[in-house]
Symmetry: C3
Subunit: 353 residues, 3 copies
């Protein structure tokens, strides 16, 4: 009898050009928004107050961009990374249409590249995943690459195909929400008086606060996204696993870093794109996550005098405050042991006219 359970795809199952339709589209609810706040403590006003959102030109409060990212990512797991020992990176991640409560998000992926690893036990798969709403508008479009176990070490390797990934989403590819009325942007409500103009390239910001992760918190977040990766949920097997315990979903760490960045970047109200991101080391329950950011670049926009973009590097750090901006151990760009995340992204922020 045919086995009806999904054990996930193995490296041999992927081929360049393959299209995957991920199951369980998801209608976003106000409960998701509350849980995202409850699990993180996020304070960006655009997602907290529909009055604020409407005043500046949105039809309602859009959901947090990282919530969109997690909702889309979660759906890809059963087909792409159920047999993955490691999520390697993200690139060219563009946030396009805002997502509102009531929207239903459906996700598909296309395989862009495959390459067997030299150990013959695993390979790398590059996929382009796209989330669309019920009007078939794209809300998120990103590439990730992931290590995937082979089903059989003896199987012959596929033709190597590595996609040409850009280091950044270029300025012209950033999607700026249309018809925003920044004259109505309330800086008392947003929590900071700082404009685009006030940030300098090279400036570093310690976000100060730390948030300790509980098992119930990271599991609830990850289940909310319907992400099924076993390592986050099953203590019975993970106590014999790599870390001797459950591993926190990397997207939860991204969420925490974005939330912490509010203190210093309150007006970075919209993430436009993630240029690249890397889970440097895993987190487990009991870790306290801190974060710091650096302004990598800043650009004016051709058609918007009252908005500018900042390119940020944000770094997630476990169990260590960030007043000395930890990242590398030494000049060889070897990461400090407590670095968990390095993420490079574009944000939208009000600009003085």
């Amino acid at each position: 009898m045919e086995n009806k359970t999904n054990s996930g795809n193995f490296f041999e199952d992927f081929y360049v050009g393959q299209e995957l339709k991920h199951s369980t589209p998801r209608t976003i609810s106000s409960g998701d928004v509350s849980l995202f706040i409850g699990l993180l403590g996020s304070r960006f006003v655009l997602h907290s107050s529909k009055e604020f959102a409407k005043k500046i030109g949105f039809r309602d409060a859009p959901i947090d961009d990282i919530l969109t990212f997690n909702m889309v990512f979660g759906k890809t797991v059963p087909d792409i990374s159920l047999n993955s020992p490691a999520n390697l990176g993200y690139a060219q991640c563009k946030f396009i249409e805002p997502v509102y409560v009531g929207d239903t998000i459906k996700t598909t992926s296309k395989v862009l590249g495959v390459k067997e690893n030299s150990n013959k036990k695993t390979g790398i798969v590059w996929v382009n995943s796209i989330g669309k709403n019920q009007k078939n508008e794209t809300v998120l479009d990103y590439i990730r690459w992931v290590m995937v176990n082979k089903r059989d070490e003896a199987s012959s390797p596929p033709k190597i195909s590595i996609p040409d990934l850009k280091d950044e989403v270029s300025l012209s590819n950033l999607i700026i929400p249309k018809k925003l009325n920044m004259s109505k942007y309330n800086f008392d409500e947003s929590g900071s008086k700082y404009y685009w103009d006030d940030y300098k390239i090279g400036e570093k910001i310690d976000h100060i606060d730390g948030m300790t992760i509980e098992e119930a918190d990271h599991m609830t977040a990850t289940r909310l996204y319907q992400n099924t990766a076993k390592v986050h949920f099953n203590e019975h097997t993970e106590k014999e696993g790599r870390l001797g315990r459950r591993i926190v979903y990397g997207g939860h760490v991204i969420s925490l870093v974005r939330m912490l960045s509010f203190n210093g970047l309150s007006n970075a109200f919209k993430i436009l794109a993630i240029n690249n991101g890397k889970h440097v080391s895993p987190s487990v329950a009991g870790n306290t996550i801190y974060a710091w950011s650096e302004i990598l670049d800043k650009k004016e926009l051709k058609d918007n005098k009252d908005l500018g973009v900042l390119r940020l590097k944000s770094v997630g750090v476990k169990d260590s405050p960030c007043n000395d901006f930890p990242l590398y151990k030494n000049d060889d760009k070897e990461y400090n042991d407590n670095i968990v995340l390095e993420i490079d992204y574009w944000v939208l922020i009000p600009k003085k006219k």
Copy 2:
């Protein structure tokens, strides 16, 4: 002065024919649906996507049948099982009208039978509980029997009255949602290609995944249902109790088993009835719940060519994978120590025409 707190009914307080109106009707919200997903990771598309639900003929995404069960059950606890050392079983549980966000559910119970136990310390009470929506339509109708403490060992026993319980809900008593348009059922979205036709009587399915229970998770679920049974919430007393710690609400285990069954039974989109269910042994935080199912029976429907019903037995198992389908220790039908739940129920599933 009259004591104004509710200490719950004791065995002596119940009599056949007694009617109980349970307090705190509950308006179901989208927050309840999000929490149910967040606490379990459920992926059945009917409850996740309103677009999917509408396409096949529902007016919106109905809530998960097990969420309905838990919401109704929770309301009965303050009146029926506050002084109960054990919930003994369920029977003839029929899911009738679908429940939608915005519906307000009110619950009543009628006592069907009473029987003192030979130890004279406890008795068994049979009740028929019914949940109705604001239009007075029945959404759930079930019988459970429960052991209840006597207030006074010396009180004289009531006349024994044991209701005649059927082993199953007969095919003719299953309520099939009307006017479903199965031609619009999207198998990419549902997560499985398997129809009613693909399942065989006697087939066993290992649902593979395991979910570890945290105290915060099971307590949040149980509080969400406004279930007040002390044993789930009070570590201060339970550390001196039977298990030396808080006990997980049995309905949370049913929820977990239903959620896990998605992997292998993704198209079993609607529970029609629970024939019987038994909490074989208790679970506590730290346990990892696994599950397997067996196809007990399958039936065609007279008036629906594109739907069929499966009768399933699902088994919840703690801290042990289910690849060998554990249930009994031996031929005497003595359960293995790690079995926590055995539940026998009818599900609705698409059928090839």
Copy 3:
């Protein structure tokens, strides 16, 4: 370069007459209501059933008054109590307009008084905080006083200014919801048959049940209110702190005591005012919270024959049942070590005509 992170105000930053506009107004969602129930298990029917609420004259189910309190309080923390070693008390807290799902609450505060402490390391700040909805109607108006660290011990003290606080909110200052139709109040649904008439001044009620606090629960509640006080979230620093671990937000304890009071005070459906409140000692995860109440006073209302008010003292107790109504150790009004909260408030309750 100017430091863009908010490290919070210090004692020297406050002056009498100062006005503070707190950031991140919050649109209340049905998800907040579900989480409040999920984290507490609250059963007051007015907040659980919109059908009940509408029958007695509300336009929808209003949110729990304590949820309103927490949402407003949370917003004040980044500006007032980020550098506070202790929250000292509340007074003259009036609940005015009911809050409904969809309302957006914005909070401001005005400094009423300042007084340096004799140790010159800290001072006391009195503030009047006001929460308003999107129609600019006041929903909550209260005074709290809080100890705040000085930035610099050597800085000279401000002129002492202590506001004249009243011990209670007078009967004439209580805001009774208009146009309630108590003939539609359903005592089966509310969970108790007791009217205003049934309570006697001096009567004490043991609320019986206990609820154990988990780290994930109190942090999720506190994050939901966007309260940023570090001591609740950061185990990495708090393990070196005063208690050697994270401290539970006092408002979560108020929530728990209100929830527990349902058993014995189910018909106290609306909190009108908090006369004063005191966090006697801190709680930590693992504590089990119990509660008892005393009827301090009862008053008829001039214009409402079918409603009355009770003045209650509720006491939160950790790790000890309340059958002997614990409060003081001795005649010197020294609190027992396990007392965590003493709160004095007015509630609205149905009265026989």
